[in-house]
């Protein structure tokens, strides 16, 4: 079956973007992707927007973006699966190319999270779980991951230091990424001393909301080879799975079953195993999420995630470098943009264009792991460079 390649990537700075509307952010990423791929807008047949609508004042965002990109009357649609919306957009673009409906599709993940007042953010934060049985008790997004962390600590001896070491690593690489929200290093001591959010998680265990957009341009195999001119990167594995919305119906609370299932699908489709992955982007919305991701993706054994980071196995030079662009933790997490941002980084790494400070040597197979909510959705993509 014919492959799908990525022939252009674009990425805005992530951070507080009070200077721009969400469609203006989308445009920045789109224009950058055309420029990156040296592409003419005429080749774009459709766009798919990955975004979470409740953060925006603008309703029905895809239409506004399509107009601003000057792409009418070409089709567009929005995908929403919480923080994995960007990867869902990539999947539907990939599907449309696989189905032979489109040949070249621009995927734009975008989010402007600072449009909301603090009160609105707090109200949204109280509704991340199952609103019928859980939200009425005061659950929060960090609260759920904190409960995963506590259980992980209980079963496997994972420590607060392990969690902090994830933040230290991601800030280390964020400091070397000019697009990142936090471009500074931190120490384990500083992370451990930060204010509690939901015990055992502290401020430095949590990623930060941000505004931003990212764009990848996908093309069918023939078009990709022509347009890519040797720089194309292949999306050879695309896994997608779900888990219960409610933690009350999860089989266990030390990992995400959706991640394990999506990874198995992606590995099988790409014909690789975990050991083949040279660089990975994982969904570190909270530090414990990255530790669980190491295990769910098979980078280490179950329960060994804490030691994996402690032994620097997820640094460049370790067994599987992870989040060497800073991850959600240091780069920032504009929710709809995140999955697409991960894909951009993977293309950069596989092209060998990540820059001296954070290029993973000989990166020919890369993986992205993008989680929606508390694991209700997970998308795992495998990228290859010929």
């Amino acid at each position: 079956m014919s492959r799908v390649g990525i022939v252009g990537i674009g990425h805005t700075v992530f951070g507080r973007r009070s200077d721009a509307t969400v469609q203006e952010l989308a445009f920045e990423a789109y224009r950058a992707a055309l420029k990156d791929g040296d592409l003419d807008p005429d080749v774009i047949e459709a766009t798919v927007i990955g975004s979470v609508p409740e953060y925006h004042k603008q309703r029905s965002l895809a239409g506004v973006i399509q107009e601003y990109l000057n792409l009418n009357p070409k089709p567009t649609w929005l995908t929403e699966v919480a923080c994995a919306s960007g990867s869902a957009a990539i999947r539907t673009a990939w599907l449309s190319i696989k189905a032979g409906v489109h040949d070249v599709v621009a995927v734009i993940g975008c989010q402007k999270m600072t449009e909301l007042e603090t009160a609105e953010i707090l109200a949204l934060m109280g509704r991340v779980g199952d609103v019928q049985w859980e939200s009425g008790f005061g659950t929060t997004f960090p609260g759920y991951y904190a409960m995963f962390a506590r259980r992980h600590m209980h079963e496997f001896g994972t420590t607060n230091e392990h969690l902090a070491q994830v933040a230290v690593k991601n800030h280390h690489y964020g400091a070397r990424n000019t697009k990142a929200l936090f471009q500074k290093e931190i120490t384990t001591a500083k992370a451990l001393a930060s204010d509690p959010v939901a015990a055992p998680l502290t401020v430095y265990d949590c990623c930060a909301n941000a505004d931003g957009a990212a764009c990848v341009i996908l093309a069918g195999e023939r078009a990709a080879r022509k347009l890519g001119a040797g720089r194309e990167v292949w999306l050879d594995g695309n896994g997608c799975a779900t888990a219960s919305m409610s933690v009350l119906r999860r089989p266990e609370l030390t990992g995400l079953p959706s991640a394990r299932e999506a990874a198995a699908q992606a590995y099988k489709m790409a014909g690789i195993s975990a050991g083949d992955v040279k660089v990975a982007e994982v969904h570190d919305c909270f530090t414990i999420a990255e530790i669980m991701a190491y295990e769910d993706l098979g980078f280490c054994g179950k329960g060994e995630g804490g030691a994996f980071v402690a032994e620097k196995q997820s640094y460049i030079g370790g067994a599987t470098p992870v989040n060497v662009d800073g991850g959600l933790k240091a780069k920032g997490h504009p929710v709809g943009a995140t999955g697409v941002s991960m894909a951009c980084e993977m293309v950069r790494q596989l092209r060998g264009e990540a820059g001296e400070a954070r290029q993973v040597p000989d990166a020919d197979v890369g993986l992205t792991h993008n989680v929606g909510g508390i694991g209700q959705y997970c998308f795992v993509n495998v990228f290859k460079k010929d």
Binding site: T139, R151, A199, L253
Partner: protein, 154 residues
């Protein structure tokens, strides 16, 4: 009146509406599928096992084991004044799981994973509106159950 359920309620209408009236009467209810006997907690009208839509409420013992817990410092809307507060996830003895806060019989520094707990139905006494919920308490904690006069039946 499912709007009674929760200190904050986002979901007033459901097919398992009677759950809240039972809870007000001091009874923690799961659901049993009348077709295949599958027990669910939280209760659900539509059986996940055989997909039938007929169910009966089944009283749960409320006895369970603490799976995990957290302390919420950064509170969501409606809970600002309560922070910091503890939340736990409990595996129920008869099956199913439940998330709740802790009551006065368990000291915050005495919470440990795998400890046995008793789920106790509660009224929010200080609220002008009827609000019902449940708290996690020390095993052996007792409470009053009332008859059908206390609310709507199923």
């Amino acid at each position: 009146m499912f709007e009674w359920f929760g200190k904050v309620n986002f979901c007033p209408h459901t097919k398992v509406d009677g759950f809240a009236a039972h809870l007000r009467a001091g009874r923690l209810m799961g659901s049993t599928c009348t077709a295949c006997g599958h027990l669910s907690f939280p209760p659900r009208a539509d059986c996940p096992a055989c997909l039938q839509g007929e169910f009966a409420f089944t009283e749960m013992s409320g006895r369970g084991t603490l799976m995990t817990f957290t302390t919420i410092d950064a509170a969501p809307a409606g809970f600002e004044k309560e922070a910091p507060f503890n939340l736990g996830v409990v595996d129920l003895e008869e099956g199913g799981r439940l998330l709740a806060g802790f009551g006065d019989t368990i000291a915050p520094d005495g919470i440990t994973i795998d400890m046995p707990v008793q789920v106790v139905p509660r009224l929010c006494e200080e609220s002008p509106d009827i609000k019902v919920h449940y708290t996690l308490e020390k095993p052996g904690t007792t409470w009053v159950k009332t008859g059908p006069e206390s609310g709507e039946s199923t």
